[in-house]
């Protein structure tokens, strides 16, 4: 019967939603941990290098990002966000609509104003010989970026899933007005 097929679809959608929520919680905790780690590593770098050597004096006010976020929309699915390097050539998406490339101001560590063709590693703003803690900070913030994009995709998927769920529940009520 159509009703039972609908109920099955409703159940599977609900389960998917719950597992997405669990994944979202885990990713949020991971992002918090990475960002905290990054800031502590920056404090350690200041301890080793001197408090004024790691600060707003070392980067330019205008900078070009090293990574960008690309939003893409499947035909009947939610929007997903991917983090890509700013200078790489990406293949054309298969979707009917190509969402525009969005510039995203991420943490300052990954953005850089490069006069040369190859974008410079922002680590070099602080000198060539930087302590290990500064490299660790950069790695933590980079991981955090990837997590942030995943979290954004998960959140849109969850909102889309909730809407689908409401739609299915309405249809179910119409077909089977008895106690559902």
């Amino acid at each position: 019967m159509e009703v039972s097929a609908l109920r099955e679809e409703l159940d599977s959608m609900f389960l998917q939603l719950l597992s997405d929520l669990e994944e979202l919680e885990a990713k949020r905790a991971a992002l918090n941990a990475r960002v905290e780690e990054g800031w502590l590593s920056l404090a350690k770098a200041r301890y080793a290098m001197g408090a004024k050597s790691v600060g707003p004096l070392q980067y330019a006010s205008r900078m070009e990002p090293q990574v960008c976020v690309r939003a893409s929309e499947a035909q009947d699915g939610p929007q997903t966000f991917r983090v890509i390097k700013a200078d790489s050539q990406t293949p054309e998406e298969l979707g009917p609509r190509e969402a525009s490339l969005r510039r995203r101001k991420g943490p300052t560590k990954t953005q850089e104003s490069g006069a040369s063709v190859v974008p410079q590693d922002p680590l070099n703003w602080f000198g060539i010989l930087v302590p290990h803690s500064l490299r660790q900070a950069q790695a933590s913030f980079r991981d955090g970026l990837q997590l942030a994009a995943d979290i954004a995709s998960l959140q849109t998927r969850i909102t889309w899933g909730r809407d689908q769920l409401r739609g299915l529940q309405k249809r179910l009520k119409e077909l089977d007005p008895g106690p559902a």
């Binding site: 905290e36 800031w39 502590l40 404090a43 350690k44 200041r46 301890y47 080793a48 001197g50 408090a51 004024k52 050597s53 600060g55 004096l57 070392q58 980067y59 330019a60 006010s61 070099n124 703003w125 000198g127 060539i128 010989l129 930087v130 302590p131 290990h132 803690s133």
Partner: protein, 350 residues
């Protein structure tokens, strides 16, 4: 051999030695650090510091209080004390003080040049320069394009002039060259300071030379550690090592060939002083090599106060005060980031 220091040191420098010993006695104690670690906010930290020798040094700061402001005010306070010492000093202590300020001047020059590279305004960078390293031509540093420009136009009148011998080149100043310049200037400065202390002889040489030897070796080891995985070549690396330490010449040569931490450790194991330091790296507290070196520096500086009639007490006091400032800034950062797991990684000055 009659030690001549005791006979006439006090004539010229007795007042200042007494003063610096008094200042040393008012450094923060272990109990003070325990109180600071328990603070919940930076305002609490400010209140606790008011009960110590720091007094109301943050009284004029507007809200909100940041770690950077605390650091700036502490530096200004140290600079006032140091200027008092310097203004009352006679030769050769005055030359000693000038040598002490050269390292801060080098840092300021590099800060200004980096600021010019990042197109920052001179005023903004000047505000962050170290007050101990100020010199009159500071504002003109950012107009220089090459090292020889920098020397001829700006620095020829400053005490930094003699340290430019090995660094003159026509290369434009980009990040790599600025880093090389910083390290070469520091190398010349350290070697000149070492020679000055050695030539002075007496207790000053006995105290200062080991301290400066340790500083030279420490620079060589840290440069090697930080150069792994960068574009700095091994030959370039060797030119940055100061030669007035225990590692010269064989150790420095081996260090220039090292490619990872293990190889570096093996070089250091040949020297009785550095073997235990490398073994303390890692361990339960997650100590880095920089931490271990700071601890050793504090040890040597505290021991300098056990002898009288030498200039090393002034150097040791300034370095201990700097360590205290680093400790307070670290505690303040942990408090403001609300990340208290490592808040006890400061080095107490006993």
């Amino acid at each position: 051999m009659l030690e001549t220091a005791e006979l006439h040191f006090n004539v010229d420098h007795g007042y200042l030695e007494g003063l610096v010993r008094g200042c040393k006695a008012s450094l923060l104690t272990q109990q003070d650090y325990v109180n600071l670690v328990q603070c919940e906010t930076l305002e609490d930290l400010k209140i606790h510091l008011q009960t110590t020798e720091y007094g109301n040094f943050l009284a004029n700061e507007t809200n909100p209080l940041t770690v950077s402001k605390i650091d700036t005010e502490m530096r200004k306070k140290l600079c006032r004390e140091f200027d008092y010492f310097r203004n009352h000093s006679l030769e050769p202590l005055s030359t000693f003080f000038t040598y002490m300020t050269c390292s801060y001047m080098i840092d300021n020059v590099i800060l200004l040049m980096n600021g010019a590279l990042q197109k920052k305004s001179v005023k903004e960078v000047l505000a962050k320069c170290h007050p101990l390293g100020r010199f009159t031509e500071m504002e003109a540093v950012n107009i220089a394009e090459t090292t020889s420009d920098l020397f001829k136009a700006v620095l020829v009148e400053t005490p930094l002039a003699p340290f430019f011998q090995d660094c003159m080149s026509e290369n434009t100043l980009d990040e790599l060259n600025i880093e090389l310049l910083r390290n070469k200037l520091y190398k010349s400065y350290l070697e000149a300071f070492y020679k000055f202390c050695k030539d002075h002889g007496d207790v000053t040489a006995e105290i200062m030379c080991p301290i400066l030897e340790f500083e030279a070796d420490r620079r060589a080891l840290i440069i090697t550690l930080n150069s792994f995985g960068t574009e700095l070549s091994k030959e370039d690396r060797e030119t940055l090592f100061p030669t007035c330490g225990k590692l010269y010449p064989e150790g420095l040569h081996l260090l220039a060939q090292a490619e990872d931490f293990e190889q570096m450790k093996r070089v250091a194991d040949n020297y009785g002083v550095y073997k235990p330091l490398f073994e303390a790296v890692g361990g339960p507290g997650g100590k880095t090599l920089e931490d271990v070196f700071y601890e050793r520096e504090v040890e040597m500086n505290v021991l300098a106060f056990n002898r009288q009639f030498h200039y090393g007490v002034f150097y040791a006091y300034v370095k201990l005060k700097e360590q205290e400032m680093r400790n307070i800034v670290w505690i303040a950062e942990c408090i403001s980031q609300r990340h208290r797991t490592k808040i006890n990684s400061y080095i107490p000055i006993l």
